[in-house]
């Protein structure tokens, strides 16, 4: 497999996943804030800031954000590298360059997805289409990932796409944790004791589509520690860091099973990281959640760089 194409497949996976997370985050934050119990959580500026933070827009902090602009930038602005539209463009560009390797079915799905986003009306979106558009993105990316799993040979091509998807997902989950943790701190800054039971934890779970699952696991409203434990360390739910790590490990193994014991390879790194998370308990991290989130974040970046070095550039 060509190194450049491997890189493209990897990024195709990442962009598909990124689009989905951006869509869901925007959707959940926007709609759940409308009737949030806390005044700050309901504040438009607060919500829009948080959406910008998610996509990494570096806006002027004291500037008043205009809702329609923020929504347009995040979803459909072709000049913003982080917009959902751009993510889908990149995903399709990557698919184009490797269309000889992915299944026809899969390519056709990406292609249709791309055209549907390109042709989505801006005016409709910013006035009435937020829910429709973001649901469409979530729905289409789910279908696409289903096609990837269901129609492609589970070989290295598949492994690379899955690798991209899972690294991106782990990164996004961690990022959302970070943003929401900060938000929860801000919301409860006058009453720090409320932090552990903030409404932001509910939004957080919804942002990663795990509210119901969390409910089934813990059978009570989410708190800081159940949310952290769940999103970081639960091995069975598909949108947790630990789950993604085990997926990453599985797919790197598919690329090169012989490298498992070589020090300083990506495979070695992920094996080590996975073990760390597997045997971590919520008690270990409860007292320094922020540091742990930051640690996870940088480990994932290191892993991604390692992968690029090892497989994508020669």
């Amino acid at each position: 497999m060509l190194a450049r194409i491997a890189n493209n497949l990897f990024w195709m996976g990442r962009y598909i996943e990124r689009a989905e997370h951006t869509a869901r985050f925007t959707n959940v934050n926007y709609f759940s804030s409308l009737d949030a119990p806390n005044k700050l959580s309901r504040d438009r500026q607060f919500v829009l800031q948080s959406i910008y933070e998610m996509v990494g827009e570096e806006d002027e902090k004291d500037e008043v954000l205009i809702e329609q602009d923020v929504l347009y930038n995040v979803a459909l602005n072709p000049d913003k590298h982080y917009s959902i539209l751009k993510c889908i463009c990149y995903a399709r560009e990557n698919a184009n360059s490797s269309r000889d390797l992915i299944s026809n079915d899969c390519y056709e799905t990406i292609n249709k997805f791309y055209h549907s986003v390109m042709n989505y009306s801006k005016d409709y979106f910013v006035t009435r289409g937020l829910h429709d558009f973001t649901s469409h993105i979530m729905h289409q990316s789910t279908i696409l990932k289903g096609k990837i799993r269901g129609t492609m040979l589970h070989d290295e091509v598949y492994a690379l796409i899955k690798l991209g998807i899972n690294i991106e997902r782990a990164t996004q989950v961690t990022r959302i944790l970070q943003i929401k943790y900060d938000a929860a701190e801000q919301v409860t800054s006058s009453k720090p004791k409320h932090l552990k039971k903030s409404y932001e934890w509910t939004t957080l779970l919804k942002c990663v589509d795990s509210f119901d699952i969390n409910r089934r696991v813990y059978r009570k409203p989410p708190t800081q520690s159940t949310v952290i434990e769940f999103l970081m360390l639960n091995p069975n739910s598909p949108r947790t860091v630990l789950y993604c790590l085990s997926q990453i490990k599985e797919h790197i193994t598919m690329l090169d099973p012989l490298k498992a014991h070589e020090k300083n390879t990506a495979l070695f790194l992920i094996g080590k990281m996975m073990c760390e998370y597997k045997y971590k308990t919520v008690e270990d991290i409860e007292d320094n959640v922020k540091e742990f989130i930051a640690h996870t974040f940088s480990s994932l970046i290191k892993l991604s760089e390692k992968l690029e070095d090892e497989y994508f550039y020669h």
Partner: protein, 488 residues
């Protein structure tokens, strides 16, 4: 029961008697081979047909079989227009075409070998040296180089037309990087999806065996000492208008589709950069023009080539398909010598007709051309894609004067031919919602390998969609049709 307002597809078909219609004879009766097809189509309501046509278009679009059109603001993707009414070529007729194109391709191959070796045909006074040395596609780096198996034009696209006399004429030999073969296959698929019923009434040859034959041809010219060759397709990249075809061919051959930046030459061997390091490459089907292959040998600013590729080729460590420098025989001025070329190398008479050609480089021909432009097609010898062609009977007086001026500036650059009347075929025209006569040609695809030859039984029928237009190239608004070769 048909609804009362039922409108037959052919109800407004207006047959021009002066044109050779492949479906209707002079008395407007349906020709025998088309009868069943005609009956089936004529039984459809126009609404049903429009529906089918739209579905076929959507299917092409969704599969990404598109090309980019740049308008004022942003790039738009368009599909290549595809016509749902297939063209039928009778088995006997096809046998002659097949023999004819193989004969031509072999003669051209022998000609290219000769040009890059002893130049006997020139020394015999049959082809002027001038023609070769002034050709932009003559690569002196190929002098005395022996490609594996002696093959230069592994892949040829021969363009044929059916003239009003009902005979096939060759219009052009494309032996650089002929494209279009993927449309042959996609057209067939699209037709199958839309109108599968019609296939039950005809016994036709498949077109899906092209890729396996291409791969066999590539493997047959592997470098010496290689057991199982690694073959790749090299493309200029996703933005090339034929990128879709490049990826299609790589995919169906099951080999890598690479770009220049994926390849590297070390010690005159070619390698591709893979996730597990460098892997040696033995045969390259290149869809990059000669000049861009190797910036160290040809155009210095080529960013799509591979530095050192030509040395690797010259050393016999990698085979390029087609060989560099084949373009020297793809020149329209060489075309006019085809009868002599076939006779000189094969000692045979040409099976397919050549259109008579006037060389503006010859004073007597030039005189004739200047006096008869209104009855001639004037073409530049070295342009592809139908550019720079002037069709005499469509020109105003002022335009004729302009053409004369242009020819006189550089007579060597132009040839002229009688205006050939391309046959017409019933083609669905969306704006009119009915079938109309449109001019068609036929591009056949021929493969030559070491002890192996293959002609794709089908080919690409190209349609000039503008009424009366004779230029069928897709870049000039042409469409295409599925082409059926009947089994004998």
């Amino acid at each position: 029961m048909k609804p009362t307002n039922f409108k037959h597809l052919f109800s407004s078909y207006d047959g021009n008697e002066n044109l050779f219609d492949e479906i209707f004879d002079k008395k407007q009766n349906v020709r025998k081979v088309y009868q069943k097809l005609f009956d089936i189509y004529n039984d459809q309501s126009i609404e049903d047909f429009i529906n089918l046509n739209n579905k076929a278009k959507t299917s092409f679009f969704n599969q990404g079989i598109t090309f980019q059109v740049y308008n004022d603001e942003k790039a738009q993707e368009k599909i290549f227009p595809f016509d749902l009414f297939p063209r039928i070529i009778d088995g006997e007729e096809w046998a002659t075409i097949e023999k004819g194109v193989i004969q031509r391709c072999k003669a051209l191959n022998a000609f290219i070998w000769d040009i890059y070796h002893d130049k006997n045909i020139i020394k015999a006074g049959l082809v002027p040296m001038e023609l070769i040395s002034s050709s932009a596609n003559y690569l002196r780096q190929m002098d005395n180089l022996d490609p594996v198996g002696g093959i230069y034009n592994h892949i040829s696209g021969t363009d044929l037309i059916k003239h009003s006399d009902g005979k096939y004429y060759v219009l052009e030999d494309n032996i650089r990087c002929p494209s279009g073969v993927s449309y042959v296959i996609y057209n067939r698929n699209a037709l199958k999806r839309s109108l599968f019923g019609v296939f039950n009434h005809y016994d036709i040859h498949t077109v899906t065996d092209y890729s396996e034959n291409l791969l066999e041809i590539m493997e047959s010219v592997k470098p010496k000492g290689v057991d199982v060759p690694t073959c790749v397709v090299i493309t200029p990249g996703v933005f090339n208008s034929a990128y879709f075809e490049h990826s299609y061919l790589a995919k169906t051959m099951g080999i890598e589709l690479v770009e220049g930046r994926d390849l590297v030459v070390e010690n005159d061997f070619l390698y591709m950069k893979t996730i597990s390091g460098l892997k040696k490459v033995d045969v390259v089907y290149r869809r990059i023009d000669d000049g861009f292959l190797d910036p160290l040998e040809f155009k210095k600013d080529s960013a799509i080539g591979v530095p050192g590729l030509f040395s690797a080729y010259k050393n016999g460590n990698v085979t390029l398909v087609n060989a560099p420098g084949t373009g020297v025989a793809d020149d329209k001025a060489i075309y006019t010598y085809m009868p002599e070329i076939i006779k000189f190398y094969l000692g045979e008479k040409p099976i397919l007709n050549n259109v008579h050609t006037y060389h503006c480089s010859r004073p007597t021909d030039l005189k004739f051309v200047l006096e008869n432009i209104h009855n001639l097609v004037v073409k530049p010898v070295d342009e592809a894609g139908g550019y720079g062609i002037s069709i005499g009977n469509r020109l105003t007086k002022a335009e004729i004067a302009d053409v004369k001026k242009v020819i006189l500036q550089n007579p060597r650059k132009y040839i002229a031919q009688p205006i050939m009347s391309l046959s017409v075929h019933a083609t669905y025209i969306e704006d009119c919602q009915s079938f109309e006569q449109r001019h068609v040609d036929l591009r056949t695809f021929t493969l030559l390998g070491q002890d192996k030859e293959f002609v794709l039984k089908g080919g690409l029928t190209r349609v000039a969609l503008k009424k009366g237009n004779l230029i069928v190239n897709s870049s000039q608004g042409g469409g295409s049709k599925d082409t059926w070769v009947l089994k004998k």
